[in-house]
């Protein structure tokens, strides 16, 4: 188990850097460049040339990538072409809002989804309700849902602030308030997925032969569900939770734009629009590392719930 973890961690850095190479391959084909974005429309040709020189954009692309790579392995992801700040500093400050959003959405979706799924696994009205609504919930595009939520709750009812983000340290209550609508947006379809998967897996687990044996031994239904069936159903459920997390990561691009949250997702869009190469690369690296971390956590969790994986 430990060896597996270490091996995964060791592989993650090269993996992230390989991922960055893919974006770099595309960069030469980008029309326009950071100089134009930086200087605006009134820049003269000389100004543009001077800026390009200053930003090192005139070097061959392989040299630019090599410079970036050699610095990156030392932890230096370069400086933003537009704002002149270190990329790591910019992205670290954007990490908290995004992670608050993603982790919040995943936790909400997982808790409610699993509870609903377990209740629904025992058929009856709730089962049908979960099935029907989860199918609809899965079909709703998250950015559309976000817009609708904003109109409903922030504009019409004024229950929540429509935009912005307040760090936890500044004001915990406001932090939660700002995050509620975005989290609902991200977690609704995720919730449906988790509930559906929980229901399916619990249904299968409860069909297992050992459940009949347990019932024959007069073990209480509640124990059967939580101590036994849930553990057996854990692996696919965990997989879906992992997928949900990664999906939420991508979902931040639209959701952060709608709710004006200064996180990684909105940074990605801005960086691409202004051709800020180091920042784009930085976002790629961060996204990849987060994805790898989540996959690793999920795999470790498998081991906890499924002893067969542990001893392999």
């Amino acid at each position: 188990m430990l060896r597996l973890t270490l091996r995964r961690l060791a592989l993650s850095i090269p993996l992230a850097l390989v991922a960055s190479m893919i974006t770099f391959v595309l960069i030469p084909f980008l029309p326009g460049d950071a100089a134009r974005a930086l200087l605006g429309p009134n820049a003269t040709a000389e100004q543009l040339a001077a800026t390009r020189e200053e930003l090192g954009l005139n070097l061959p692309i392989w040299e630019q990538y090599w410079n970036w790579l050699t610095a990156a392995v030392r932890g230096d992801l370069g400086t933003s072409l537009i704002s002149r700040q270190p990329v790591t500093e910019i992205l670290n400050s954007r990490l908290e809002p995004s992670l608050s959003l993603i982790i919040g959405a995943t936790v909400v979706a997982a808790v409610i989804g699993i509870v609903l799924g377990i209740r629904a696994a025992r058929r009856g009205f709730l089962g049908r309700f979960v099935d029907s609504t989860s199918i609809v919930a899965l079909a709703i595009p998250d950015f559309w849902l976000g817009l609708v939520l904003v109109v409903l709750f922030a504009v019409q009812l004024r229950w929540f602030p429509p935009t912005g983000y307040v760090p936890f340290e500044a004001d915990p209550l406001l932090w939660i308030q700002c995050l509620i609508l975005p989290i609902i947006t991200l977690s609704l379809p995720a919730l449906a997925r988790i509930a559906k998967q929980t229901r399916d897996s619990m249904g299968t687990a409860l069909d297992g032969t050992f459940v009949r044996t347990l019932r024959a031994a007069s073990i209480r239904e509640r124990s059967i569900i939580y101590r036994h069936a849930l553990r057996n159903a854990a692996v696919p459920i965990l997989t879906v939770i992992g997928l949900v997390f990664v999906g939420a990561l991508s979902g931040t691009v639209a959701v952060e734009t709608i709710f004006a949250i200064p996180g990684l997702g909105s940074t990605a869009v801005q960086a691409t629009a202004s051709r800020d190469l180091p920042l784009i690369q930085g976002v790629v690296v961060y996204f990849t590392l987060i994805t790898i971390a989540v996959n690793l956590v999920v795999d470790l969790a498998y081991g906890y719930f499924n002893p067969r994986v542990r001893t392999k």
């Binding site: 200087l39 935009t163 229901r199 897996s201 692996v235 999906g247 709710f259 004006a260």
Partner: protein
């Protein structure tokens, strides 16, 4: 859903789900339909009701939150752009203040203006007793340091604007004289708050220019509090203890928040999160409906720039009759009303009402008359119309404007082949590449001098094909050396010539807009001062 659900590991093969017999299927469908109907009704309910009005009580707090859409990467005004003036102004007072009626008042400079003939020498006398927020004194030496610093820059617009300045000389303890290398009547305007060359920076800070990226060192009512600032998200300004006019410090604290989405800005105003905001032309109707105070001076000439006047790419456009015909084929008033909320914003000349060059008669030059347009096109040899490739961008709703114009031009047989570049940098790159004979244009109007710089100048970005007109050139030669009085007539002549030669299809004077919570006053923004007020005058109405 999350956006990218299946991008990730494959969903584990789902185990056999409980399927339902025929009898339960209709029930499931019914519950699904019911759920969506509820959602539709709820959302549609808000469509009918629209945004409800905000509270009627005026704002009486002592802090101000101001929202804007974009911020510069650096807070240094010398390497920035006038577009960000509403950020610089809190910390930097300008040399000259331009009032809403087009006249100038003293700012940091008590006396200012051209001396002699021909607009080739300029003198500034500073106010006495002014200190910067870092304690340095504003005197002639400090001003010279600042002006030389600006002129030495290679990026940013201020240095371009001072391109005509040859030398800066200290001619008194508080007096500076500028010698120009060519006639340039625009300096007073440049030193005012709209174009921002007059945001004087402390000489101490100039010794360490990189410090100006993230902090401020001006002589304005406030200064930046870097601890409470997150670049790109929000900027907090606190009172400048050294400010020369404490009566003008109306707030304890000013926070400038960046809200990129125009609709979100309105929502923030309604929710009371911000009290004032730089608006967006496309959301003015929504703001008014939401009960927000809107101050919206027309500011930018918005329309289609028929740049290829030499007919290089598009032969029809090379013919002035065609260009004139197109000007007759557009119903400006209807577009203005539909897209910008008011017919009064329709524009068909190159100056705004209240500006020196504006002439009422020019508004009648091209009345909306599709039949006459078609006849003129036929005269020019295009009875069946033609296709014109046009570049547009989604910034500031200019793509909607382009589409509206396209709809009207199609009535006279002219088809616009529209290409959209979403972001501004992409749009500019494509525009200057000369791949398109025409492009949408949104150009701030102030006076004919500023119009020259980017639009008429053969090397200006908006004159992509570098066309020139001898009569225009001659008018400008006179204008540059004329004094202010004579200049008025010359500006009107230039305007008339541009209208006659139909260099563009002007459609509207798109407004710069300011949204205010009720109970606030002080925004003096009109076409005469380019729509840029002295934002530090914003205060609670007593």
């Amino acid at each position: 859903m999350s956006l990218f659900r299946t991008l990730g590991r494959a969903t584990p093969p789902s185990n056999q789900a409980r399927t339902f017999s025929r009898k339960t299927a209709p029930r499931r469908i019914a519950s699904m339909v019911a759920g969506t109907v509820v959602l539709v009704l709820a959302a549609a309910g808000c469509a009918a009701g629209g945004g409800s009005g905000q509270s009627s009580a005026g704002y009486d707090g002592d802090t101000l939150t101001f929202a804007t859409g974009t911020v510069p990467p650096s807070l240094n005004p010398a390497v920035g752009d006038p577009a960000y003036g509403l950020l610089y102004q809190w910390a930097y007072d300008p040399l000259v203040i331009m009032n809403g009626d087009g006249t100038y008042s003293p700012g940091l400079a008590e006396e200012f203006g051209y001396i002699g003939e021909g607009n080739q020498t300029y003198e500034i006398t500073l106010r006495d007793g002014v200190e910067f927020s870092d304690g340095a004194t504003l005197d002639a030496e400090a001003l010279k340091t600042y002006l030389d610093y600006v002129r030495s820059q290679t990026i940013g617009s201020p240095t371009t604007l001072l391109a005509s300045v040859d030398t800066v000389a200290v001619t008194g303890p508080l007096t500076v004289t500028l010698t120009l290398n060519r006639p340039d009547p625009g300096l007073t305007f440049y030193f005012a708050q709209a174009f921002g060359v007059g945001f004087v920076i402390s000489p101490d800070a100039i010794e360490d220019p990189s410090s100006l990226d993230a902090t401020t060192a001006g002589a304005g009512p406030y200064m930046l509090d870097p601890d409470e600032t997150v670049a790109g998200d929000h900027y907090t300004f606190v009172q400048n203890p050294n400010y020369w006019n404490p009566e003008r410090q109306h707030w304890e604290k000013v926070t400038v928040r960046v809200i990129a989405n125009a609709s979100s800005t309105i929502q923030a105003l309604q929710a009371g999160q911000v009290q004032a905001a730089l608006g967006d032309a496309t959301t003015i109707p929504a703001a008014e409906k939401a009960g927000i105070d809107v101050i919206a001076p027309p500011q930018a000439l918005s329309g289609i720039n028929l740049a290829d006047r030499g007919g290089e790419l598009s032969e029809p456009i090379g013919d002035v009759r065609v260009r004139q015909a197109l000007n007759m084929a557009v119903d400006r008033k209807t577009i203005a009303k539909a897209l910008y909320g008011s017919e009064d914003l329709a524009l068909s000349q190159y100056a705004l009402e209240g500006q020196a060059g504006f002439t009422q008669e020019l508004a009648e030059t091209y009345p909306y008359d599709p039949e006459a347009a078609k006849a003129l096109l036929a005269d020019a040899g295009y009875p069946d119309g033609f296709t014109l490739p046009v570049l547009t961008t989604s910034v500031s709703g200019l793509d909607k404007l382009t589409e509206a114009v396209a709809g009207q031009l199609s009535e006279v047989g002219v088809t616009l082949d529209i290409t959209t570049q979403a972001s501004a940098p992409d749009y500019f790159t494509a525009m200057v590449s000369k791949e398109y004979p025409a492009a949408v244009i949104g150009y701030g109007l102030a006076n004919m001098n500023t119009l020259w710089a980017g639009f008429i100048n053969p090397v200006g970005p908006f004159n992509m094909f570098g066309t020139a007109d001898p009569e225009l050139d001659s008018l400008y030669q006179q204008y540059w050396t004329a004094d202010e009085e004579a200049g008025v007539g010359l500006q009107q002549d230039i305007n008339a010539r541009l209208v006659d030669q139909a260099w563009t299809i002007p459609v509207v004077g798109a407004p710069l807009s300011y949204y205010l919570a009720s109970g606030l006053t002080g925004i003096e923004a009109t076409p005469a001062n380019s729509g840029v007020p002295l934002i530090t005058d914003l205060q609670p109405a007593k």
